[in-house]
Symmetry: C2
Subunit: 324 residues, 2 copies
């Protein structure tokens, strides 16, 4: 790879002038500029980003920390982030934290050592202190680290209301909820939303709420157990799509017909939800838009631009399909 010195020599100017042409900064004569551009073309010169980063204390890179890219929610988010970052000239370093505090801190250190300009993170375990100590813009997505930090979330409560009311409107008279992990904010909110709608119903009891782990296995088990103890259940609101699919599998295993005998609604609107048979009715989050928004906000933050609002709560939508 040719360096700026070689370009300077070929063009018969100093490196400073080449740099000025490159960055379109300072005064450069028309003729000189052409000479330099010619030399650049001739040598197929591309400036060394590492050297640039060292001087600027800024790499044109952002970090994306997710719990696990294999979790179907995150590929779409990652795609949105990468697309948007790329549009603004940034690269994306992918990190899988497994929600592990030690790994998370290690990634944070690594990103800082690499002079990344900003970080997008989805985590339940990260603390505000960790983030602030970094001294780099951080946007939190899907999960809230702390009020005050830039955050992108969705209307979990409202989505849960919508899902539960919808099941009622479909004629369900006994509606259960498979909730996400205790302590995870969005799981708590979705559960709370469900509870607000059903708690004044005469049939409701706490045993209609069962724990899941946001994965399929836990949900299958929970549903099997649920339908055994409460055979009267005719509607399930699962806190995410994977668990909703698990519920469908459990129902199928027991010979319970979906949607005729049991209606099921999920949450998230991941692509997966439309490949099942029957297709899943779900509360969709605008995942791509959220990733895009997060990245745009991060870019503004990195460029020290004004960014007015730093807390966004995206609306969610019910998509009616065949599981209800």
């Amino acid at each position: 790879m040719a360096s700026i010195k070689e370009v300077a020599k070929l063009a018969g100017v100093s490196v400073a002038t080449v740099s000025r042409v490159l960055n379109d900064k300072g005064y450069v004569g028309q003729h000189t500029r052409e000479m330099v551009e010619q030399a650049i073309k001739e040598l197929n010169y591309k400036p060394n980003e590492v050297a640039r980063s060292l001087f600027k204390k800024q790499s044109s890179t952002i970090g994306l920390i997710v719990p696990d890219i294999m979790n179907p929610y995150f590929p779409e988010l990652a795609r949105a982030v990468e697309d948007t970052a790329s549009k603004f000239g940034y690269n994306v370093i992918l990190c899988n934290s497994d929600e592990d505090k030690v790994k998370e801190q290690a990634y944070l250190d690594m990103l800082q050592q690499n002079y990344v300009n900003g970080i997008i993170v989805s985590s339940n375990t990260m603390t505000a202190e960790q983030v602030i100590k970094l001294n780099i813009p951080v946007v939190s997505i899907d999960r809230e680290i702390s009020k005050g930090l830039p955050t992108i979330v969705v209307e979990n409560m409202k989505g849960a209301h919508t899902a539960t009311r919808y099941l009622i409107s479909k004629g369900c008279s006994r509606i259960a909820h498979i909730r996400g992990p205790q302590g995870v904010v969005n799981a708590d909110e979705r559960c709370e939303g469900y509870r607000e709608v059903v708690q004044q119903e005469s049939w409701f009891s706490e045993s209609y709420i069962v724990d899941g782990d946001y994965d399929m296995e836990s949900s299958i088990e929970a549903t099997l157990e649920l339908l055994k103890t409460h055979p009267e259940i005719d509607g399930i609101f699962a806190a995410n799509d994977i668990m909703a699919i698990g519920a469908m599998k459990a129902a199928n295993q027991l010979g319970t017909k979906v949607p005729d005998e049991l209606a099921i609604v999920g949450f998230d609107g991941i692509k997966l939800s439309s490949v099942t048979i029957p297709e899943l009715t779900t509360i969709v989050q605008p995942i791509y838009e959220m990733g895009e928004k997060a990245t745009k906000m991060l870019v503004s933050l990195m460029n020290q631009q004004e960014v007015g609002q730093t807390y966004y709560k995206f609306d969610v939508d019910l998509i009616e399909r065949n599981s209800t």
Copy 2:
């Protein structure tokens, strides 16, 4: 962030000595070493990776270029690559090429400018020339760029044989194939494998092979068309899982029972294949292992170590589930 100079000053030594301690290189007295380590701890010093990269002409980063991380095959691959890279101290820059030659070249340039040490790529459009010009180790995965370049693929032909023979063994007497895009090596091979098994059958004609685009929509359409023109079909081998699921949807739409009236086999063994109802019988690729192997090979290549074999063809397995 503290710099090496500050550490040197605090420890009362020169920066060279600090560097020696850091890298465990050259002679350092026991007492001096302790002083330096103490200073490092005190300042919470972490060496600046960018400065290091500049001098070494090596960043501890590798690039991963995939067509689209949203394609369900790739998250698992990405996870494997990131896990393995991380284990060896490397970061991963994620790039979505959309199989677009221009984007691909742009990513290649960018990665080179950022001094990445190596690249893992999955692409049909990249040429050997592009790769060689980079002068960086590149491992191709899932798709073959050129014999001679480090490559990880699977036994596509054999997998197709297995799938087709399996359908025959299950009593299917008219077996169709939904193939992947023309010109894509693995699609061609899978099709060829199918053809080898069925072409001596008396019932076989080219009209049993239909084009798909490795996505669900194309497959639904193709299957609908196929079943209309050939109602006698009782088995379908789809060239990937997504298309197999598309075929299931089409069958469902026509009221054809899977697996009773129509058996379906997919290819890839992505996680998705086990969430459908009925679960999909498929030829599984060891995706995670492939990503792991690719990364390990890349690391060896980057460290100029001996790597004997550079072409791996992984075996595939039939997983029997409920779609057959």
